[in-house]
Symmetry: D2
Subunit: 465 residues, 4 copies
Amino acid sequence: MGNGEKLKEECGVFGAFSLSTSVTSYIYYGLQALQHRGQESSGIAIYDGEKINCIKGLGLVSEVFNKENLKTLEGKMGIGHVRYSTTGSNDIINAQPLVANFKNEYMALAHNGNLINAEELRGQLEEDGRIFQTTTDSEIILHLIVKNLQKGLIEALLETIKQIKGSYALVILTDNKLIGIRDVNSIRPLCIGKKDDTYFLSSESCAFDVIGAELIRDVEAGEIVIIDGKGIESFKLEVEEKKMPCVFEYIYFARPDSVINGRSVYFTRLEMGKRLAEEAPVDADLVVPVPDSGIAAARGYSLKTGIPMGEGLIKNKYIGRTFIAPDQRDRETGVRIKLNVLKELVQGKRIVLIDDSIVRGTTMKRLVSLLKNGGAKEVHVRISSPPVKYSCYFGIDTPTKKELIGARMSVEEMCKLIGADSLQFLSIEGLIKSVGLKSICTGCFDGNYPMYVPKEGSKYLFEKK
Amino acid sequence: MGNGEKLKEECGVFGAFSLSTSVTSYIYYGLQALQHRGQESSGIAIYDGEKINCIKGLGLVSEVFNKENLKTLEGKMGIGHVRYSTTGSNDIINAQPLVANFKNEYMALAHNGNLINAEELRGQLEEDGRIFQTTTDSEIILHLIVKNLQKGLIEALLETIKQIKGSYALVILTDNKLIGIRDVNSIRPLCIGKKDDTYFLSSESCAFDVIGAELIRDVEAGEIVIIDGKGIESFKLEVEEKKMPCVFEYIYFARPDSVINGRSVYFTRLEMGKRLAEEAPVDADLVVPVPDSGIAAARGYSLKTGIPMGEGLIKNKYIGRTFIAPDQRDRETGVRIKLNVLKELVQGKRIVLIDDSIVRGTTMKRLVSLLKNGGAKEVHVRISSPPVKYSCYFGIDTPTKKELIGARMSVEEMCKLIGADSLQFLSIEGLIKSVGLKSICTGCFDGNYPMYVPKEGSKYLFEKK
Amino acid sequence: MGNGEKLKEECGVFGAFSLSTSVTSYIYYGLQALQHRGQESSGIAIYDGEKINCIKGLGLVSEVFNKENLKTLEGKMGIGHVRYSTTGSNDIINAQPLVANFKNEYMALAHNGNLINAEELRGQLEEDGRIFQTTTDSEIILHLIVKNLQKGLIEALLETIKQIKGSYALVILTDNKLIGIRDVNSIRPLCIGKKDDTYFLSSESCAFDVIGAELIRDVEAGEIVIIDGKGIESFKLEVEEKKMPCVFEYIYFARPDSVINGRSVYFTRLEMGKRLAEEAPVDADLVVPVPDSGIAAARGYSLKTGIPMGEGLIKNKYIGRTFIAPDQRDRETGVRIKLNVLKELVQGKRIVLIDDSIVRGTTMKRLVSLLKNGGAKEVHVRISSPPVKYSCYFGIDTPTKKELIGARMSVEEMCKLIGADSLQFLSIEGLIKSVGLKSICTGCFDGNYPMYVPKEGSKYLFEKK
Amino acid sequence: MGNGEKLKEECGVFGAFSLSTSVTSYIYYGLQALQHRGQESSGIAIYDGEKINCIKGLGLVSEVFNKENLKTLEGKMGIGHVRYSTTGSNDIINAQPLVANFKNEYMALAHNGNLINAEELRGQLEEDGRIFQTTTDSEIILHLIVKNLQKGLIEALLETIKQIKGSYALVILTDNKLIGIRDVNSIRPLCIGKKDDTYFLSSESCAFDVIGAELIRDVEAGEIVIIDGKGIESFKLEVEEKKMPCVFEYIYFARPDSVINGRSVYFTRLEMGKRLAEEAPVDADLVVPVPDSGIAAARGYSLKTGIPMGEGLIKNKYIGRTFIAPDQRDRETGVRIKLNVLKELVQGKRIVLIDDSIVRGTTMKRLVSLLKNGGAKEVHVRISSPPVKYSCYFGIDTPTKKELIGARMSVEEMCKLIGADSLQFLSIEGLIKSVGLKSICTGCFDGNYPMYVPKEGSKYLFEKK
């Protein structure tokens, strides 16, 4: 819950193509439903029949857009993006969608994911005399597509995905097409929706619910989906795909009301809680979730064990992202202003405190102390995923290994650090079974990535040292 | 949950007096903990050793205050206020604390409550040649105190509370004292806290938790508490008190982690849910709370009945107070962007949907339809309080009777309107037993007010018709 | 021109009363025409047929008002105010118009001037049990009027001006009247205008030109003008008036296109320049005005002497009030960014540099050095008023005597300080003749005030030490 | 003076290179001195020793920059830009300086001028697979330089200016160099300054005065100036140069205190006024300038004819760029709020009203009527340049021919339209003699451009129709 305590999701993308109606408000609502995937910048690009207009800015969708500027963005095709920066600093110049002009054509692109061969690709493009105006890897993709465009759009796209390595869920807008692309390992989510004669692309299906659209299906690994006046067409690279969707979408990133790769996110979390109860039972009086991240797993834990669940920690719903302590007198206050212990409930009880993951451990330590000061007799911490031990190269902003408590310490040491009476994590096997997919990327837990990862990357790769 | 659906709490007040340290950040944190009691304006007044400085503005505490302007407000005594307007329009001139200058002295006042004889009192003061610069009833209290000040402070305060009728929890700041006053019926809450050598007054005890202070006791009905360098002194009017605290603080207004009049708010809600289960059982598969207002009662209902509870409605935590729909195409979207149904969970199930109250009924209607469209087989609505049928004259902004669905319709009609399979409310007796106090104001349910109420009031009383 | 170099005018007031049309945009334009009289806060109060609505804020008229908030202010009667604070700090609570509510009536008041018996009056009112919410002397006037209102409006106004001493040009708005009052010495300007069936009151006639109204006449010394549905009525206190209008309005404050007390401001300045030429001739090649304050006098000097005038100092018109130097490396840059020397014009020439007054001398010193560094052979400074030696108690913010260069130094010493080849001031006699009125207040030059002035005042009189 | 009445200057550029000190505040002050050349966007790019940081935004220099963001921009080399858009719409994406990243190098570019072969060049670059992210022609120059960079920087620059046709004053920043380039016709101004060990480039010399630097010389037609640690080096294309600087810089655009191509702007304007007096004398009582554009020419006219000059039109100095009329009742008020007639001065007089140019004629019509309503007996309009009849293709935003009153009407017709008693313009010969350069571009008056101009251009060239 605390800033810096959770891994940061990278981005959310959304696209809409209609034959009959302006899609601007669909995209606006869609991005708000995806806001949890990125809060640093927001942008919408709309083709108005003549050209692509784009408005983007730093901040939430509700901060960047208002009735007046949305009015200037009407059109039947468009894409949108919410961003938490993984490559390139948090600067307006790096906000997406990126828009390119060339030969009287427009192309806009929004990207969720991270390329691992960005440096080589950019080097080659620069050799070629090309210049870059952002420090994002997404600009590389735009260059590659345009470079190959003389072979035709489909060929250019296929050529591009042959060259880029890493994770990418892309929505692309041209003068007459909406395009969705998902990487060959389908690491980042992307799905297709429909309402009347309007097609949608979205990082998550929860955005379809908001606008009353229906989830059709996921874009598949390595698939290019092209939506235009004739409907949907699909193209695929002739490579052996190896589906390895990111497991952290199920653990924490995605909204519980989304369905990703055919699996309900809420149910996978419920399942993780149940398996955690099997793997790590404890004699206790009350299951307390860390709000909101631990709620679904706590529910599962409670259902399995029969131990009642209760709101032992209460959230202040008016404390926003931007809380700033006016003085440094009391660092504890920063946590207490966001979460308060419900002393009457926890007093004298043996508590099972449940959260989805532990990254740095500092917030968990404060929560345990909050509960103990509130009168809890015992606090047993149960985590519905294994310890995070490795960096992610595919679109999640993981701290350095030094900061990852799971990489530095044994479970016993962690338990001592956070001051809990016991601490247990869900096993990797339990996690995989909970999700129920044939294969999945668990790189952050065990280092098994979908592809060879050359070296420690950096989100400031293209900003000179 | 929807705007307009819930009754509006009126205000929160907070005060601090220290012998050794600046209290500004305490008040800042305290007001943030009380933010749920009013989001229209925020203000802090601090005595700096020479004079009272006051900063107030429209908006949340976090919007009105920042590191820079807090720096200009240091001092060892101060009060603060968050406001939702019940008398006087939402205008900066009406923001509190009010500050008066006279004879080289300062007095600042923050008020939660509503006077029912404001018109008469103001008329008398005006006869006397006094002028008013706001349209709040709180300014009347300030005039009365100052008018009587030549008799000494205590006498002036006693004289004032002899004259004012209605509800009031007051915190007052002078050059050397912090004063707390609660009306003779103790309608609005006010309690005393302490940390080291600093005393606090607060509408709710949750604010003490945030700053690490301890709840000492409630200010009692008709009590005047004076805090200064010598400690706390208490004065009382020689009248027969008749404690009738507002029941809606327990139902909805107060934070669950507060203790009011010695009763834990969370536990009263849990109890309401349990009694509701007894009074209005139903054969169902899943208890779904309306987040966040129905959570505690749903928990009680689930515990009592054994029917499992689940997150059937998912909140978008990034949709703030200020959500504005960009177009009118789809009014439904306004609800769906805030709450989404978790279809995978509710599909095919018989749902008990639990909320704390129904005011207008429009949001409840949309939620029932959301659940049914999401696949719920049956939706049984259970409300953990009786139907709201009467206006409040004591500090709650109730809609007119015409808008109160409970005043216009029978329960059967309401059930039909919201499209539920069944609808039941907690009885007044069940409610009273759940709270467990000897006497309590249930005027909004049965018209039994703590005092004679002359006629329909208006929050714009002092703004000419 | 420099901040801190010029004396600060105190305020501008404007009022409008129409039988047929909304006056809001008249007041908006009128205040913009009076903006030179105060830039710290702006406010408009309008009677909408039921009540007085008031919007005020810190900043220029164009910053406080916009199309949207002006729309909420429509009505046929209203007053406005622009402020530079002379009593009370620059705080939103002190912004005018002040609005009072009492007995279902409204009264709004805007004041230009300064009371010298504010302390005594406020003391008496406080004895009486009245409270103050601002630290302005204008609030005292409002209290006095309301206190006496039971005798009838006219009597209350006459009673009030019997008690208040000092300077005041007042515009007052009630539910059905617009009232203008000018002090018995007519120190501050106030005049009456008319357009169709709308009457206006304004500090200066230039505001009438802007809205296409005609100047009817000045409000006279000690006169109360009441405008309502029946037309204009006039009342006067039976005291011996002693007209002594402020001479500095003619020297610097008023706009050149205003006519005050029947005298064109531009022509009095032209005349000051001519008389300065007679009193202080010099053998020179070019007359250079300090823009914009010295232009009219320089024109007169040039006309009288035949020495050509030229734009030797060029203003950067994009540098606003709020210029802030990013670093302290070069304090000179602050002056140069606002005014640049036109080297090609001044090179090798003997310059007569003309300004209206010298207060602290720091800017004049920089301008002389700017001209000399630009190649001027000689720089002779001529000032179209005498040295400022005394504080003003009637609405002008004069520095303390310590800061007034004219109070500390002889003309020779000043000349040496600013580095000029010669320095001469217009004589008091020359000044009086230039204005051409029978009597005039020249207190800041010779200490002869219109009334006995008890002691050094302070603009923070009512803010505790 | 009125919006839309004056031709719009295009841009101002500024650069600084120091061996010892941070240049950020120099650039900040320099841009403020050049603010008259563009008010739509402002930007500064600084090389900090590692990379180029750039801050840019819509608005004035004082609106985009503040102490805090300037602090993040320290470095010894940098460039800046103020913009009024001539190619590309007024959008943040089009703000300059443009910054390119490639092969671990940075290049920033700021451009004043307009390319006439932008379409062809961009087409070729797009053929090549390059993409554009702005709709400015300046981005083309950046692409061309980078494309040729493998031949070395000097060759790349020479190659680039061989290809681009039109007007350009460029300042370019690399990791170790500051570069200035002026087109072969030297249409737009660019000059070199020095202070201690810091070199400067600026559109106008007035910026050097502000920071205390000295004007060294103009960059010459077709010259490339390279400033680095070794000092200044100069390169020139081996083409026959044909100097044709823009005459409108002398008539209106440049600040009077600038020296361009060795000629004082103020003196050329004084001279235009004198020659206008010779060519178009009139029997009159008073010369009145339109402030501020007509002041210098009016001065010359007055000097030559002996007719005295007077401030017949008074400017409101608080009315900024952003004046918005609150209602449409009185369109005249828009002019009167900015300029008021000094009735006392013009009454009964025969006026010569002098301005620098007439574009649409609407404002001049209002000024003549203002003067006549103010009592002027006769109003003779004299313009210190010929009628504008042709569009500019070299960096000035001229209205379409339909809107140019000089292209549609004879002088007699114009005179009738504006309601003057007589109207006369300076002849082209008189204009050329006043400036005193061997050759000069007078294309907007006679259609004689420095090069063949293919067709009507558009500032929205690269934004799809």
